[in-house]
Amino acid sequence: VALTGSERAGAAVAAEAGQALKKSTMELGGSDAFVVLDDADMDKAVEWAVWGRMENTGQCCVAAKRLILQEAIADEFVRRFKDALAKYAPGDPTDENTTLAPLSSHGALVLVQRQIDQAVEGGAKITLGGKRPDRNGFFIEPTILENVTADNPVYHQEFFAPVAMIFRVKTDDDVVKLANDSPYGLGGSIISRDVERTKRIARQIDTGMVFINRACWTAPDLPFGGVKNSGYGKELSELGIGEFVNKKLIRVA
């Protein structure tokens, strides 16, 4: 049994598969860190963060959902990130010039509106967007949430929509601590000019994939999969073809 979907679906199906003694792979949600270190190339950081949050209208398990910024670059990054997101305009998704697509369903829209409301009730500040545009289609404006504290109900939630949570931290240890403060561990990013430093941080993050100096993404030859509530097992690459195979031992005396 191979499932890609929500934690709820994954838990139900994995339980059923377990009852029948069937192996399963689970590719579930994610809310990974997109980390920008203090020495990052800002053009690169902003470009990939925007792409990582907006690709597929934010409806991606490895999207850049939690932006963890070191203080030295945080103000400049947020200003540029906000300017870039503000340019997205809703339109017909079949038109090649449209930049903002609708969410996939009315249910998805209602869910993210509820999450935004919860975030604000919990003390978060909307610094961009937050509303459904007054027009047809299940659109939500690209949204930035700041001041999301650990006691906010959305702090551990996944936003499956173009909603970015911004966090500011001081040290590399703070980066690791906050990145790991999540029920998920699927695929994240670290942007920095010091590649050795990013590798050190990458090794300390409990997640399935870390992309250095670009947004997390996928290719046929890259193993894809997570840990914690993001599931288990790998898809794609040589690892992916080994999941549902009988590794049969044949021994001749």
Binding site: A2, K22, T57, S105, H106, G137
Partner: protein, 252 residues
């Protein structure tokens, strides 16, 4: 395209528990694009049995070269029909058309990657051990049941179908509630030229309410895995035959 034993007109199945249609709502226009009826328990059991039968007596018995030829044909069709397939994604889940085209491309790339590399990945491995001659071979397991979401409807499926079809497993897909047209398109080319059409790649329904019954009993000896309804995902029968009738694109 579809094994005729499995084409059961909507409403004709006596043990259908509930008459439910699933609806595809275009997320941009907010208008109903299509409705699809559910499968019945009987249909699902027939699908499971056929997936198992095809696994045992056909697909797992083929050479890697034969499987590769089928996958290559699917890749060719994906690329040939790129625009048509991309439009289905945009219609059903609202993805920007440029990104939808990219998804069709990467899906074809994944299938091609496994078609081209499976032989090397699956080569028997000789182990150096304390005694005897030892080799570890990669044998197929059976029917793989996959449940896939709406966000990357072709890509998610390609990740499971590519490797598993090359291994020699057969695949049953339970698609997301509003994605039947996409699935129909994915499935159709896989069936092409197959003598056991219908079981290599099947979409499966899980009824949204009530129990589907214990589907494991449909093929107790196989690797197939049935399940009861118990999570929120609904499903529909997209009736690939029906799809063809509706839009006349015709896979034949």
């Amino acid at each position: 395209l579809l094994n005729e034993r499995l084409v059961i007109p909507s409403g004709s199945v006596s043990n259908r528990r509930i008459e439910v249609s699933y609806q595809t709502i275009n997320p941009f226009t907010e208008k109903l694009a299509k409705t699809f009826p559910e499968h019945s328990d009987a249909e699902m059991k027939a699908i499971l049995a056929q997936a198992d039968e095809t696994f045992r007596n056909d697909w797992s018995q083929l050479s890697l070269a034969d499987r590769k030829a089928v996958l290559k044909e699917v890749v060719r069709l994906f690329r040939e029909r790129r625009e048509e397939y991309a439009q289905y994604i945009t219609l059903e889940m609202g993805k920007l058309i440029t990104q939808a085209r990219g998804e069709v491309d990467i899906s074809a790339d994944i299938l091609e990657y496994y078609a081209d590399n499976a032989e090397a990945f699956l080569a028997p491995e000789t182990l150096t051990v304390a005694g005897g001659e030892v080799v570890v071979e990669n044998a197929p397991l059976g029917v793989i049941f996959c449940i896939e979401p709406w966000n990357y409807p072709y890509y998610q499926l390609a990740r499971v179908a590519g490797p598993n079809l090359m291994v020699g497993n057969t695949v049953i897909v339970k698609h997301a509630p509003q994605r039947a047209a996409v699935r129909a398109r994915f499935r159709a080319p896989v069936h092409r030229r197959r003598r056991a059409e219908g079981a290599l790649f099947q979409r499966v329904p899980i009824q949204r309410t009530g129990s589907t019954g214990d589907c494991r009993s449909a093929c107790p000896r196989s690797g197939a895995d049935g399940q009861r309804a118990g999570w929120r995902s609904g499903c529909r029968r997209g009736g690939p035959g029906t799809q063809e009738e509706h839009n006349g694109t015709g896979w034949q």
